[in-house]
């Protein structure tokens, strides 16, 4: 898609999401924090466009898709469909709008009712929306089955008689039944083998052209996204970290997280030598996200405080690891049982912080200033508690990445990236690390 076309799509988007937030309330009775599954997401989907949302599991991409369709209760923000605010719709209006906006689910084995025939499954939305007469519906189902590459004779068969790929076709036929304009595809091919996956992707491409459909494709498989999508949004901990046209974003990612994510895809070509960024740890819990930038706990591009310039790369790795251990302990110390144990003095199961320090820093040389801060944190942990020690370390080694939530920065036409490094006073990610281009 060319630039002019894209900006054309921007002028008249079919779907426009503004500051969407979906929180799940805590199950705990007291002291629980909500899970910020979707935390302020804005983007637009042009007519006939395919926008991909990628991210690791738990980043909130499925919740985002469901929220856009109002299958989840939205806490804040707006979703405009064809200029109409769908977050305001009442029950009746919502039901009629759902004919225009459909969803295809990830797992074709669980998404359909095993006790219904294929015909009944595909027909159900037509029945619900009172579409035509009985024989109209029947004809429509037969036609739909043929559209998705099944046969009209399959009407009376049951889902278990079909393979995974065929079941996904049933799911697609069902989504197509009420003639929607917009379909949210939630990991439509991730449960399928590559050769089957290719067929489903081809089918989706054909249908889009034929029926002038608009797609929002949620996926964790980046090669699928690259093949199918016009634009991509990269999600991490409920926020869009980067948004831009697919090819540009894949070729020159702006955001550190996008870079890390892309570099982790194994290429099906052993001759491609990859500069891999291997991220430490796994994404933090959305119930207890880091302050500042969500990616700051794992980011290899993190801004470091200037007073510790003398610390080398290995030193920083160890410092971050040490901080992660303390953070983890502090989080556990908040728990009721652990708190009790600590108070009763039976919390002797873990290695003393002192030993953790010796293990981590025994074989690296740190500048005096840094070492002094760490020693002080160790002493604080012993005297006052892990939480206090963590705060001390945040103070010493933290930076803007941990204190402020980064803004969206336009990095090129139609591209946004959420990272402090795009601010004028810091080095851009690609200036900071040139080894990962």
């Amino acid at each position: 898609m060319s630039d002019s076309e894209r900006s054309g799509a921007d002028r008249d988007p079919l779907v426009s999401v503004e500051g969407l937030r979906t929180y799940y309330a805590s199950e705990r009775l007291i002291g629980g924090k909500p899970v910020k599954a979707v935390d302020g997401v804005s983007f637009e989907i042009g007519r006939g466009e395919t926008v991909g949302i990628v991210g690791e599991s738990g980043c909130g991409k499925t919740t985002l898709g469901r929220s856009v369709l109002r299958l989840e209760d939205v806490d804040a923000g707006r979703v405009y469909f064809d200029g109409r605010d769908v977050t305001e719709l009442g029950r009746r209006e919502l039901k009629s709008w759902r004919q225009d906006a459909q969803m295809v689910y990830q797992n074709p084995n669980t998404a359909v009712n095993e006790r219904m025939t294929v015909g009944q499954i595909v027909r159900e939305p037509l029945d619900v929306h009172g579409w035509g007469t009985d024989s109209d519906r029947r004809d429509r189902v037969a036609e739909l089955l043929e559209t998705v590459g099944l046969e009209a004779e399959h009407y009376h068969r049951y889902p278990h008689q079909f393979s995974g790929g065929q079941r996904q076709r049933i799911g697609i036929a069902r989504a197509l039944a009420p003639e929607p304009e917009f379909i949210v595809l939630d990991e439509p091919v991730s449960a399928l083998d590559v050769s089957v996956q290719a067929k489903i992707l081809n089918l989706l491409t054909d249908l889009q052209e034929e029926l002038n459909l608009t797609y929002m494709l949620i996926a964790h498989d980046l090669s699928v996204v690259r093949h199918v999508c016009d634009r991509v949004g990269v999600m991490y901990l409920g926020k869009l970290m980067e948004l831009g046209p697919t090819e540009e974003l894949f070729r020159s990612p702006s955001n550190p997280y996008t870079r890390a994510l892309l570099s982790a895809i194994p290429h099906a070509d052993p001759t491609v030598s990859q500069d891999r960024i291997t991220l430490r740890g796994s994404p933090p819990s959305p119930r207890d996200p880091p302050t500042g930038c969500g990616f700051s706990t794992r980011c290899p591009f993190k801004i470091r405080p200037t007073e510790h310039d003398a610390v080398d790369e290995e030193g920083w790795t160890r410092i971050e690891e040490f901080r992660a251990v303390l953070r983890d302990r502090a989080r556990n110390a908040d728990g009721f049982v652990d708190g009790l144990k600590r108070r009763l003095g039976v919390d002797d199961r873990a290695t003393p912080i002192r030993e953790v320090r010796d293990d981590l820093f025994g074989d690296v040389s740190l500048p005096e200033a840094a070492r002094e801060r760490i020693d002080r944190a160790v002493a604080t942990a012993a005297e006052e508690g892990v939480t206090e020690a963590t705060e001390l370390l945040d103070d010493a080694f933290g930076s803007v990445c941990e204190t402020e939530v980064p803004d969206d920065h336009p990095t090129a036409a139609g591209r946004l990236s959420r990272c402090h490094r795009h601010r004028d006073e810091y080095e851009e990610p690609d200036e900071y690390r040139t080894d990962t281009r």
Partner: protein, 445 residues
């Protein structure tokens, strides 16, 4: 020890008998892995790759049966020695046999006669002996885990050959702490307990990259994230210091960033311990990243075998080609992905034809009647171009299109013994010599 394989699988067949049909889930699979190397076993679901791994460890459940005609040979010298000592009657000295695949091994006169009862039951084979004083030490040989009694297989399982499963969450017991599970294993296999076991367990967790291991030992699997569970499962597999690690889709449920961590970890552990790894996956990207050699499976059979460089640079079997082409992102920017028609069949009939023929774009009439054998498809000239690491340049495919240089009739004859016999002399005689016989058994060398 020489550069021979640590694990070799020869004509492995596993069938599931049900009232309705007999499913030949694994139908004559052969491969070999040397120490320190990784063999990628790729295929779509239903190709029989997981059953292959389970058959190696004797973990096939009823109604599955591993056919005694196949063999799983474990070559670890100390294990062979131990088993030979314990089951002296089961030892077959390679010198007694004339048809042993490795019969070129030195003929060492042994005091033990061939008095042992049934050659069928002799599951330990010794091919080389070094005389050291009066007691001769076994140098090379193998234990056939298909023929061996259950007790032997159980000794090999975990201690010699360990397995990492796809779903780490279900391979850990949810009601025991991770530490308890590792300690239990150490107690059973290595006779370590108490404080020493705890220490070893912590060291294991640390070696798989779990920080703050002492504290983690007291946690339950559900307190671990998906990536950490897989790390813990790998720690469990390594607890008994195995020589071979079978990884059954260990990264399939994981996110790419976590997958990259686990692949890095496996590579590091392999280097440290000189592990032989059999890595089962459906993901061609993962294979290209981690494997040294690849075996492509289709409907219970290996259809192509090559070094990773060769397989991706120059895939020969039409199925491999189709599979590689259907990966998005590789086929360039084409709007439509090339696809393979139809779907993977259930191998419920004996293989008398090419099982891929119904879907094959290059199928010919003979494909329906001749079962293709593995033939050498490596053209020596492009070995250098493909950037082949030495020693892994074997490239075979089971397809009637090869050997490419031969005329049609001789090509078919290379795959079909019957045809060769019936052939009218003129074509039959020459084309058979080096064809199937040499390349067919591509196993241990």
């Amino acid at each position: 020890m020489t550069d021979g394989p640590i694990l070799s699988v020869e004509g492995l067949k596993t069938t599931f008998h049900t009232d309705r049909e007999t499913v030949r889930a694994v139908d004559g699979v052969s491969f070999a892995v040397p120490p320190g190397r990784t063999l990628g076993l790729v295929g779509e679901s239903g190709s029989g790759k997981s059953v292959t791994a389970r058959s190696i460890l004797g973990l096939v459940d009823d109604p599955g049966r591993v056919d005694p005609s196949g063999s799983v040979r474990y070559h670890g010298p100390s294990f062979v020695r131990r088993i030979a000592e314990r089951y002296p009657d089961a030892v077959r000295w390679a010198t007694d046999e004339t048809d042993g695949p490795d019969s070129q091994a030195t003929a060492d006169p042994q005091p033990r006669g061939d008095s042992s009862p049934d050659p069928e039951e002799r599951f330990v084979t010794v091919t080389e002996v070094r005389s050291a004083g009066e007691a001769a030490a076994i140098e090379t040989g193998w234990v056939d885990l298909v023929a061996a009694p259950r007790a032997v297989v159980e000794r090999a399982r975990g201690g010699e050959i360990a397995m990492v499963f796809q779903d780490a969450a279900s391979s850990l017991n949810p009601v025991y702490t991770v530490g308890n599970q590792i300690r239990e294993l150490l107690g059973i296999h290595r006779d370590v307990d108490g404080a020493e076991a705890t220490e070893t367990a912590a060291a294991l967790l640390e070696s798989v990259g779990i920080s703050d291991p002492e504290r983690r030992l007291d946690e339950y699997p559900h307190q671990f994230s998906g990536g950490m569970q897989q790390r813990a499962a790998i720690a469990l597999a390594l607890a008994c210091d195995p020589e071979v690690l079978l990884c059954d889709e260990p990264t399939t449920g994981l996110d790419v960033t976590i997958q990259a961590q686990i692949l890095d970890l496996l590579e590091e552990l392999q280097r440290e311990r000189d592990l032989a790894v059999v890595f089962i996956t459906h993901d061609m990207g993962v294979v290209s990243r981690i494997a040294d050699a690849v075996a492509v499976m289709y409907a219970g059979e290996v259809v192509e075998r090559a070094s990773v460089g060769r397989l991706f640079a120059d895939p020969k079997h039409p199925y491999t080609r189709g599979l590689l082409e259907s990966i998005p992102g590789l086929a360039g920017t084409a709007d439509r992905l090339p696809t393979i028609e139809g779907s993977v069949p259930t191998p419920n009939e004996p293989a008398t034809s090419c099982r891929f023929a119904p879907r094959c774009p290059e199928a010919m009439p003979e494909c329906e009647t001749v079962h293709p054998a593995h033939v050498d498809v490596s053209a020596p000239s492009d070995a250098v171009a493909a950037g082949d690491p030495a020693g892994t340049d074997e490239h075979t495919a089971a397809c009637l299109l090869y050997p490419e240089a031969e005329p049609h009739r001789r090509r078919i004859a290379a795959h079909d013994e019957d045809l060769e016999l019936n052939a009218d002399g003129s074509t039959g005689a020459g084309g058979t010599g080096e064809g199937p016989g040499a390349a067919d058994r591509g196993g241990p060398s």
